[in-house]
């Protein structure tokens, strides 16, 4: 069993879905489900087979490498560590959810829909596995086209505008990322004499000084668009609102996470000194995003738009955690990524169910739905509470750790971010009040959750509660990755103190091995 299969299985399913005859398009749903189930089995086998007690195993659970374009030093280098593993589990599970939630929503061109769904999932899986910068970029771009189609063909009223805006924004970020990658390729090649896109090779060279700073900016720009950070977030409300439910789930649950993943995987270890320089600015942006997203969420009348703006707010916490230079905050950010994927995915699914029943997303036309659909309302309540950070649910763990971890270095920013939690309470409770409480508005009558819908939503509730009360396994899985980042910071420290300050554009070759671990980066 090797890692390539994780990408090949959904890709193959996508191609099969493309040629499913039009008369039996329903088969495509089962093909997608089967592929994702197979992917999950492979993933668990790889994860289980390479499992050992934390601390005993190295950073990388499993690796594989094949030649691809040797002329340019490009190889299909895949590897999985705890972080990738956690993200891949989330990907496959949300993939299953998005297949199930579009079971009755999508009736036109079902085969082509599932082609795009599976293609975007295999792109995301590729992003979480690639450790060759070119291959990473390849999958990064590959996610866009099927996502564009998902929005442009099966989206709502304003889909053309939203789909184009999504594509143009992310492609602009992507091209900046490409420029950064190629610049890094040459800086590394000039310093070491070996021109390669391989992550492990490039990691051997610390790019510092002005060149490092600009390359890091290009990387951050590419990832910030996906994350999204203010002010490049404007594609998100449009894309989320216009996308079909499955598209929103994948966008919010997975695509946004690729941006955060990219920062953890590439920006933090490759440019530790430049990251330290820019950390305050990025964190300021993150806090502005937290507050701005929360305020705008409160002002919406469109349900999907509201949930979309809460994403901006929640991803602000992730960004804050990533650039706080503290192990605790980093763990919190990863936790927040997972929980945001689950809670926002669930909220989009619930909103999608409501829209399928009422054909509107306008909250002013809805109200008092609790009596009509108590089960649906109850589930919605859980995720509204998760969204506002209720202790006992996963989001609380993530946000709390981020704030505690970041407080040491950025106290005032954390104080401001805490206001975001208050605002979250306001918009989440207001959403519940407007939709489910009070007298019934209009003459709606529809069924409560069906069996399929209940089977779809209950696991989300279980997951968010489980992460809230028992987050330990996730922390232990991600710990080696966090440790390795601490190591990178330590190495930089040593080199700087042994060589003096790095010169202007210089790249410093780091080859010493580190025996002692810095305590500050460890979890308490």
């Amino acid at each position: 069993m090797t890692l390539e299969w994780l990408i090949i299985i959904p890709l193959a399913a996508a191609l099969v879905n493309l040629v499913v005859p039009r008369e039996q398009e329903g088969v495509a749903r089962w093909i997608s489900l089967a592929a994702l189930a197979a992917d999950l089995v492979v993933l668990l086998l790889i994860g289980g087979g390479n499992w050992s007690l934390p601390g005993e195993r190295g950073l990388w659970m499993v690796q594989s490498n094949h030649q691809w374009i040797p002329q340019l030093g490009i190889s299909l280098q895949f590897a999985m560590d705890g972080l990738s593993f956690v993200m891949l589990i989330l990907t496959v599970l949300l993939g299953v959810a998005s297949v199930v939630c579009s079971w009755t929503e999508i009736t036109e061109r079902v085969g082509f829909f599932h082609f795009n769904l599976m293609a975007v999932l295999s792109g995301i899986i590729g992003v979480f596995l690639s450790l060759d910068l070119f291959v990473f970029y390849f999958f990064w771009e590959l996610m866009l086209v099927p996502m564009y189609f998902l929005i442009a063909i099966w989206g709502h009223e304003n889909r053309k505008y939203a789909a184009t805006k999504f594509f143009v924004f992310t492609q602009a970020g992507g091209l900046l990322l490409l420029a950064g990658i190629v610049a890094l390729y040459f800086v590394h090649g000039n310093a070491s004499g070996q021109y390669t896109f391989n992550y492990f090779e490039i990691l051997q060279v610390q790019v510092t000084g002005r060149a490092g700073f600009f390359i890091m900016l290009a990387f951050i720009a590419g990832f910030a668009v996906k994350l999204p950070a203010i002010p490049v977030h404007t594609w998100l409300p449009d894309a989320h609102t216009e996308a079909p439910t499955a598209g929103s789930v994948i966008l919010a649950g997975l695509l946004l996470k690729t941006g955060a993943y990219g920062i953890i995987r590439f920006v933090l270890p490759l440019f530790p000194s430049s990251v330290a320089e820019i950390a305050w600015t990025v964190n300021l942006v993150a806090v502005v995003g937290i507050l701005y997203g929360a305020v705008l969420a409160f002002a919406q009348t469109d349900m999907k738009r509201l949930v979309a703006y809460t994403s901006v707010s929640h991803m602000g916490f992730v960004l804050l955690g990533l650039f706080s230079q503290s192990a605790m905050a980093l763990q919190g950010a990863v936790m927040q990524m997972l929980c945001h994927g689950i809670s926002t995915g669930a909220l989009f699914i619930l909103v999608g169910m409501l829209q399928e029943r009422t054909h509107t997303r306008d909250m002013t036309r809805l109200g008092g739905l609790w009596d009509l659909a108590p089960r649906m309302s109850g589930v919605a309540m859980v995720f509204a509470l998760a969204s506002l950070g209720l202790p006992g649910l996963g989001n609380f763990v993530g946000e709390f750790l981020v704030m505690v971890g970041a407080y040491k270095t950025f106290p005032w920013l954390v104080v401001a971010a805490a206001i975001g939690l208050v605002l979250a309470t306001i918009y989440a409770l207001d959403l519940m009040r407007r939709l489910f409480f009070g007298p019934l508005k209009g003459s709606w009558s529809f069924a409560d959750l069906s069996l399929r819908e209940a089977v779809l939503t209950i696991p989300f509730v279980v997951a968010i509660v489980a992460l809230g009360v028992f987050p330990g396994p996730v922390f232990r899985t991600v710990q080696p990755t966090v440790d390795s980042l601490a190591k990178a910071g330590k190495e930089l420290h040593q080199v700087q103190s042994s060589l003096g300050e790095p010169s202007g554009n210089g790249a410093v070759v780091v080859k010493q091995s580190i025996t002692s671990r810095e305590i500050r980066w460890r979890m308490p």
């Binding site: 070119f134 771009e141 590959l142 086209v145 492609q171 420029a179 040459f186």
Partner: protein
């Protein structure tokens, strides 16, 4: 001139002899299928002779032509593109035109001109190649002379290409006045320390080639000619004619070592940036697919200039790869346009493509792949082509050019996506208004399928193609 020379010249001689023979045959025996087959056979024969001739060493044939790896690669590319154009032309002419047979000798002559242009090492052969190519193109553009737009396009091309040729000749004269030679290598030897006159001559020469390449500000003819010419001829202009002119200017400027002349480099940088921006911005405003592709082609030549200005072996490989990718893509795109065209005119308006995916899913998929390749999206050859250009540009630290390339690529996305969106729009929109469609001709279908496969194959497994380009093209220096 020896027998060995003749052997190496054989690919071109075949191209020279075949049109003459074909014209005589047509006078007695008009048969569309036969003429097409003979044309295809000629091109194939020329290709085989070329590839088996070997390219390890550079081979000079008098002062006029040089057959080295560089020539062999680009001539081979031109021949393959001409074959594709021939295959696309047959069903197109069947459906749209009454007298068809003369088209093929003209196509062969134009191909000969392009091949001579690529292989030339002397101003005389350069000018000969350019004019052979140009004159047969005037006739090809206006081939459907009962259609007014064709004749108009032909006249426009004639006049502006003549202006371009005048510039070219003037530039040659100035260079001759300074260096006393018309032969490339001797010009290069005396170019060191050459004065203002030489610089002026080179600039004027670039203006002349710039007309052919449709670089801004010499691009005025492009949109009208692309729109007016029959779709397969447009494909020929976009691929063969531009590719040959670019290969020539690349050879000339590389041998000249353009990095010795900062003024020239600055001028070309300006032209490149202008081409990228103007091409993409003007393409944004088009509702006609052929005009849109015309403006986008201006931008693409601008992208190619990034690799030219990199003046590195990496840049040469980038040009080779990008041209292969661009040839495949643009031939495929115009191939789809040709398939959709009927006797009442070419399928040009974006509106005609609305809902194409539900009427003709495979054709829509092909055009979608071509648009994504033009936009530089992964899994297509265009992605790796653009990637190579960025690598070449950053490798030589051409930041202004690389940033322009990035910014304009984003602008370009918008209009490529517009075509894709139109094709994949939901079927209920305006479907009833469109005429019933016929079946795709077998020949076009196979050609387009092969082009798509090549597009994806070079996009995901480019190793062999890069090796070929490396061994042939970079043998120049």
């Amino acid at each position: 001139m020896t027998y060995a020379d003749l052997g190496r010249l054989a690919p071109l001689l075949v191209l020279f002899a075949a049109p003459v023979v074909l014209l005589v045959i047509i006078a007695f025996y008009r048969h569309h299928g036969f003429t097409m087959g003979a044309t295809l056979a000629t091109l194939a024969a020329s290709f085989v002779l070329l590839v088996t001739g070997g390219h390890a060493e550079s081979f000079r044939i008098t002062d006029l032509l040089v057959m080295d790896g560089y020539s062999v690669f680009f001539v081979a590319l031109i021949l393959v593109a001409a074959m594709v154009v021939t295959l696309l032309s047959y069903p197109y002419l069947e459906a749209t035109t009454k007298r068809k047979e003369e088209y093929y000798p003209l196509l062969l002559v134009a191909t000969l001109g392009a091949a001579v242009l690529v292989a030339s090492s002397h101003f005389a052969s350069l000018f000969l190649g350019l004019e052979i190519l140009g004159i047969s193109l005037y006739a090809l553009i206006g081939f459907q002379r009962e259609r007014r737009c064709c004749v108009e396009a032909s006249m426009k091309y004639l006049i502006l290409a003549a202006v371009g040729s005048a510039f070219l000749l003037f530039g040659m004269a100035l260079i001759y006045a300074e260096t006393g030679s018309l032969e490339f290598t001797r010009i290069m030897q005396s170019a060191k320390g050459a004065g203002l006159l030489f610089l002026l001559g080179t600039a004027t020469l670039i203006v002349g080639i710039g007309f052919k390449l449709a670089l801004v500000p010499f691009h005025m003819w492009t949109a009208d000619v692309y729109q007016g010419a029959p779709a397969p001829v447009t494909a020929f202009i976009a691929s063969v004619s531009k590719g040959a002119a670019f290969a020539l200017i690349l050879r000339f400027l590389t041998e000249l070592r353009i990095d010795q002349f900062p003024t020239l480099g600055l001028a070309l940088t300006t032209v490149a940036v202008l081409s990228m921006f103007a091409g993409n911005l003007l393409a944004l405003m088009q509702t006609n697919v052929k005009r849109m592709l015309a403006y986008s082609s201006i931008a693409h030549v601008g992208y190619l200039l990034v690799a030219l200005l990199a003046t590195s072996p990496l840049g040469m490989i980038a040009v080779g790869y990008y041209l292969v990718a661009y040839f495949v893509t643009i031939l495929g795109a115009f191939g789809v346009v040709a398939v959709l065209s009927g006797p009442e005119g070419d399928a040009e308006q974006i509106e005609e493509y609305r809902g194409l995916s539900s009427r003709r899913p495979w054709l829509a998929a092909v055009l979608c792949a071509m648009m994504l390749s033009l936009a530089g999206i992964p899994l297509t050859a265009g992605f790796l082509g653009k990637f190579y250009l960025v690598v070449a540009g950053i490798g030589s630290a051409l930041w202004v050019l690389v940033i322009s390339l990035v910014v304009t690529s984003v602008i370009g996305l918008y209009y490529y996506l517009r075509v894709i969106f139109a094709m994949y729009a939901r079927p209920e929109e305006n479907l009833a208004a469109l005429p019933e469609c016929q079946k795709i001709p077998v020949l076009s279908g196979i050609t387009l399928a092969v082009l798509s496969v090549v597009l994806v194959l070079t996009g995901v497994y480019p190793g062999p193609m890069i090796d070929i380009i490396r061994t042939t093209v970079t043998g120049l220096r």
